[in-house]
Subunit: 156 residues, 2 copies
DNA sequence: TATTGTTATACTCTATAACTATA
DNA sequence: TATAGTTATAGAGTATAACAATA
């Protein structure tokens, strides 16, 4: 008879934390892209920039791309079109002209305020399925994993 | 004086569960891609296919793309090159010739077995930072979120 | 020299849809 | 009709590096 290679049932692939995260994230991204497209025609990256500015107020460009973990090149290109569309403004900092301060325009604020409720409904649906303890633990785990995700290698 | 728009400090953006997941996932993906490239020259998608087959044994193509949430077109293209490289075989099912059974070749198994330890070290580093309770709760949360990520809209 | 941001290039992944072959 | 899989195309995101302006 032909012997099949063993299936590692004692350590199922679905218990690989990165596998589960990747699978969930694929679904969440597709869902967010679909909702955003219907609600306001924005791409995910555009929304992440607008959402940051809507929440936190004027922010330096470098801070958003670093803290929201958006690729520098992609960020710069998206910024260009958002400025061209009059959604936000980019002004050089008075004290350091290399840095640019980003601000939502009135149009950008309107866009933020009309899109936010849609995304908040989704957020409530997601977090509402969790107990307060689960939510707290989940964020604690994310806090622990993020620094580990920046480690270069895990050579023994 | 100029009044800045309000910052929503009472509901910080970092408490938006999807924002945190996206940020973490961006880092984890970059880390995995880097490690895989160094270890065996595989792309993330290639590894996800090989890992599935290495773990679970021969599997129908449609099951992998659905359960691992890999885009159908991308999956088909990656499969083509993996077969051409002799990493796996694709044979039509006896009872339903539309379906294809995927199997690692000897070369594919070798690739799986040399890459797995590297990825397992990383996995241990990630999960090792968590308490057993945190890990259990984290998977429970992922289980709850996944079906919600498939909902089409959250219209009121 | 180092940092902020832009641009170019190439590559990976995703979405959509048309297509085939089987059922 | 419906499903498994392929192919084509366009768009979104990522990686890398070269570059300009500023510090």
């Amino acid at each position: 008879m032909t012997r099949e290679p063993p299936a590692y049932d004692d350590l199922p692939l679905t218990q690989f934390i990165t596998f589960r995260l990747a699978r969930l994230q694929a679904r969440l991204n597709a869902q967010a892209a679909r909702i955003l497209k219907d609600a306001s025609g924005l791409s995910l990256t555009q929304w992440r920039i607008i959402a940051w500015l809507g929440w936190r107020g004027p922010t330096r460009a470098s801070d958003i791309s670093r803290l929201a973990q958006i690729d520098k090149g992609l960020f710069s290109r998206k910024l260009k079109t958002l400025v061209a569309q009059g959604v936000l403004t980019s002004e050089p900092d008075k004290t350091d002209q290399r840095q640019h301060m980003l601000r939502l325009t009135a149009e950008g604020t309107r866009l933020f305020e009309t899109t936010l409720p849609v995304m908040q409904r989704r957020q409530r649906a997601l977090t509402g399925a969790l107990t307060p303890e689960e939510l707290t633990t989940f964020f604690a785990v994310l806090d622990k994993l993020e620094p580990l995700a920046d480690i270069e290698t895990f050579d023994p």
